[in-house]
């Protein structure tokens, strides 16, 4: 048994060995964005700069909670998150980004305090089953989904950050009362709840439901898995309907970052033309580029369309608004 103890201690120490190489040529990123989707970006950065990137992948909200628990001792240099809410939750621990980086994107798509910046855009859509419905059958506003004819046919992910951001947008834009009424009305229509966006789109494809409230790019992910002929399509809602909200994935540099130069360089790198083009040319999930002059993938709204779309709301206030949104979702029976 003594041998085992020694072995155990040796292996445990071996696990601690990583600290020595904390030289200037490494960068630690906490990524709430899936490895499948963003790994090529990290590889390109390593190739171009010679800086080694260590990435910790996990859920955005869990990483935000981790950064909060770590406090000033966080090993992270960059937080690359799925949604403005997670970034907003740790904004006190983020440093202000350089003007040159911030100016790459429209003010709508970054923190008003300059602590994080959007790196790609995503529009809320109604995804629908093309065997059951034509685009004309799908309502032009989410407010119409309370019509009894949609009973049992709508699906949504109530615990998902993007869905909650959409509800926040509705609250800020249409007011508390109207949002509560809508949530109650929709609830009366017995919507189906899913854990995330992907299963919603899969359920639409399988015919389990006819319409789903999701982000636009999940369509492409699900087609990748089920095949191009899967009977699903996106409907982008017109005008300033809350259901046309445009949100972002984004990144920020930690104030406690050990490699803050490399970190700023990385965020700037994400906004360079070449990396923005990545979303339209190579990426599986077809997000929208946020930098002027880069055209999105066919069928995905352009930057001008994005900037003019959806309710007029401040994304950087979403973190602070989340608690009220959660309370409302809780009271109306969407979450517990």
């Amino acid at each position: 048994m003594k041998k085992l103890t020694v072995l155990l201690a040796a292996l445990a120490l071996a696990g601690c060995g990583g600290d020595d190489k904390a030289a200037s040529d490494t960068l630690t990123v906490y990524s709430g964005r899936e490895e499948e989707l963003v790994e090529p970006l990290f590889e390109r950065f390593e190739e171009e700069t010679g800086i080694t990137v260590d990435v910790r992948y996990a859920d955005s909200a869990e990483l935000a909670a981790t950064i909060a628990e770590e406090g000033g001792n966080s090993p992270a240099d960059v937080f690359f998150a799925q949604d403005p809410g997670s970034l907003g939750a740790v904004e006190d621990q983020l440093a202000e980004l350089p003007e040159a980086v911030l100016d790459r994107v429209d003010a709508r798509f970054r923190d008003s305090g300059g602590r994080w910046v959007g790196t790609s855009g995503r529009a809320r859509v109604l995804v629908y089953n093309t065997d059951e419905l034509s685009e004309g059958d799908v309502p032009d506003s989410v407010f119409d989904l309370t019509d009894p004819k949609w009973k049992g046919k709508v699906g949504l992910p109530p615990t998902n950050a993007s869905f909650q951001a959409f509800v926040t947008a509705m609250r800020l834009d249409a007011g508390e009362e109207r949002t509560r009424e809508w949530l109650e009305g929709l609830k009366a229509n017995e919507p189906k709840f899913y854990e995330k966006n992907t299963p919603v789109v899969e359920a639409v494809a399988s015919g389990e439901i006819e319409v789903g409230l999701v982000n636009h790019y999940y369509l492409y992910l699900v087609k990748e898995e089920l095949g191009e002929d899967a009977p699903i399509a996106n409907k982008y809602l017109p005008g300033d309907d809350p259901g046309a909200l445009v949100s972002v994935a984004g990144a920020g540099v930690l104030a406690s970052a050990e490699h803050s130069d490399a970190a700023e360089r990385f965020v700037g790198f994400l906004l360079a033309d070449e990396q923005q083009r990545f979303y339209t040319e190579e990426a599986e999930e077809a997000e929208s580029p946020l930098v002027e002059g880069i055209d999105p993938m066919e069928g995905v709204p352009t930057l001008d369309e994005l900037a003019g779309r959806g309710p007029d709301v401040d994304l950087s206030s979403f973190g602070g608004e989340l608690e009220k949104t959660l309370e409302l979702l809780n009271e109306t029976g969407y979450t517990s």
Partner: protein, 524 residues
């Protein structure tokens, strides 16, 4: 000194010290929760008075009771059939029925949904429009039972093999029916092992998040995860987690009451009993075992193979992940077994209020969801032990915090079947209490220690939430590989790591289910 229950001297310091240190470390998450819950002032406690907190308690309780009863029924019945009867293919059923233990519960849920969910495989096969709804209570019950009943099966099978068949044979000799012998003789003797198994099942169910979220069943863990997403305020999550700790205490209390009515029959002789002839019950018994193995092993395996076939062209064997999973889990198994021995020895050989308290306290981390353990260790390690933060050592420690009770179950059930008499003999010959324990008892319960370690190994292989946050950067395991692919909906690529996880874990289940198998009649 008849059964050596008490009055055998004071607990020696050489056992107390390591046990106290271990338990103090295991209680770190609890300390964290108390700090978090109290830091938010009154706001966090508002969660408690919300009307749906009661609903959550009720639905969580309902699930725990359901899964525990189902697991006890399946576990005990299959264990009896495969150790005490002449059912054809006895060994095959014993191993096959234990194998679902290696299927992570979230994979089980995915597979059940893939098979029985809307437009799943079954629906395609039958060509029908709709199947009964699988989401909700029944789906969660099925997936959780699948991955937990093997705990009961394994512990009860081992106990049955250790049980002196002379008792049952005497019962039969007195003209009792097999059923009556089972109820009056076998079942009472199995109490400790059924209790230990049921405890693991109940605590696992309390802590599980993957299944309840995939099956959309509102349990406490799901609410805790949702609270963590409200980010700014970790207080409500901590308060809900403390509610979970209170439920754990309740479960532990129930189990110890159940265990109190134990009749220990002494070490017994390890020999194969004369099997019951099933006679015309043979076919129903076969159908039953086939149903259990079919539903809980064949269905998930078939779904995984189907997914694998669909994405075979893109499949790449993740060798590095296999190695990482196995090394981290093996370390956790060794560490947990070593840590469990002093605690188990104290609780069974020196039963005082203190030693029992130590033993019960080591369960604190077991019913907490992985995210709570992970964040508490993030907090302590990042701020007070930063050289350890995000190292393999911390990850292994997190596994020990979560799974130590499984090692404890193995060691304790072995200890309770060895009985203190040999140890007392050693002491009568002049050995000190610790020396007697280590030279006489520990070698005797070696197989129990290995069994406990194997259980920890299997659990660590499947662990996800703590692994994600605490692993060294770039340390990929099979579980994180499955998470990575399923989170983008790429089930075809999740199938290979899932099947590999099952394949490398399977030999351990084989070991667990075949240990104590007496090869021939011998006299003890």
């Amino acid at each position: 000194m008849s059964l050596g229950r008490a009055g055998r001297g004071r607990a020696p310091l050489s056992l107390l010290l390591p046990a106290c240190v271990t338990v103090a470390l295991l209680l770190l998450p609890l300390a964290y929760l108390v700090v978090r819950a109290s830091s938010g002032g009154g706001r966090g406690w508002r969660v408690l008075t919300r009307s749906n907190t009661l609903d959550l308690l009720w639905s969580t309780g309902l699930l725990v009771v359901g899964v525990t009863l189902a697991s006890m029924t399946i576990g005990v019945s299959v264990a009896w059939l495969t150790t005490r009867t002449d059912i054809p293919g006895r060994r095959l059923w014993a191993v096959g029925a234990a194998l679902p233990l290696v299927i992570p519960s979230y994979v089980a849920a995915f597979c059940l949904l893939g098979a029985f969910g809307p437009r799943g495989l079954l629906q395609q096969l039958l060509g029908v429009e709709r199947l009964p709804e699988i989401y909700g209570y029944w789906g969660a019950l099925a997936a959780l039972t699948l991955s937990t009943y093997p705990y009961v099966l394994l512990l009860v099978s081992a106990a049955l093999r250790d049980l002196d068949p002379a008792l049952e044979e005497a019962g039969r000799g007195l003209g009792r029916s097999p059923f009556e012998v089972f109820r009056r003789v076998t079942l009472p003797a199995l109490r400790p092992s059924i209790g230990a198994g049921a405890l693991l099942v109940a605590l696992y169910t309390l802590s599980d998040f993957g299944v309840v979220s995939l099956m959309r069943y509102d349990a406490l863990t799901r609410a805790i995860y949702l609270q963590y997403k409200s980010l700014f305020d970790r207080t409500p999550a901590a308060v809900l987690a403390l509610v979970l700790v209170a439920l754990t205490a309740l479960v532990l209390w129930l189990e110890s009451r159940w265990r109190r009515r134990v009749s220990r029959s002494g070490p017994g002789t390890a020999r194969r009993p004369r099997p019951h002839r099933l006679g015309r019950w043979r076919w129903p018994a076969l159908v039953y075992c086939g149903g259990v193995v079919g539903a809980f092993l064949a269905v998930p395996a078939a779904v995984l193979v189907y997914w694998l076939a669909r994405g075979l062209d893109r499949a790449e064997v993740p060798w590095r992940e296999v190695a990482n999973s196995m090394s981290a889990s093996a370390l956790a198994a060794v560490a947990a077994a070593l840590a469990a021995i002093p605690i188990a020895l104290l609780a069974t050989r020196f039963p005082t209020r203190l030693t029992r308290l130590l033993e019960r306290s080591s369960f604190a981390g077991n019913a907490l969801p992985g995210i709570v353990i992970a964040l508490s260790l993030v907090f302590f390690a990042a701020n007070y032990a930063s050289p350890l933060y995000q190292t393999l050592a911390l990850l292994v420690f997190a596994y020990v915090v979560r799974f130590l009770p499984q090692a404890l179950a193995g060691v304790e059930s072995a200890l309770s079947s060895v009985g203190p008499r040999v140890e007392e003999a050693a002491r009568a010959l002049g050995r000190g209490p610790v020396s007697a324990a280590f030279t006489v008892t520990v070698p005797l319960i070696r197989s129990g220690i290995f069994a406990g370690a194997a259980l920890v190994f299997l659990s660590a292989m499947k662990e996800l939430p703590a692994t994600l946050l605490l692993r060294p950067i770039g340390f990929e395991t099979l579980a994180t590989e499955i998470w990575k692919t399923t989170s983008v909906g790429a089930y075809s690529r999740a199938a290979l790591p899932a099947l590999l996880l099952i394949a490398v874990s399977a030999p351990f289940v084989y070991f667990l289910s075949s240990r104590h198998e007496p090869t021939e009649v011998e006299h003890g």
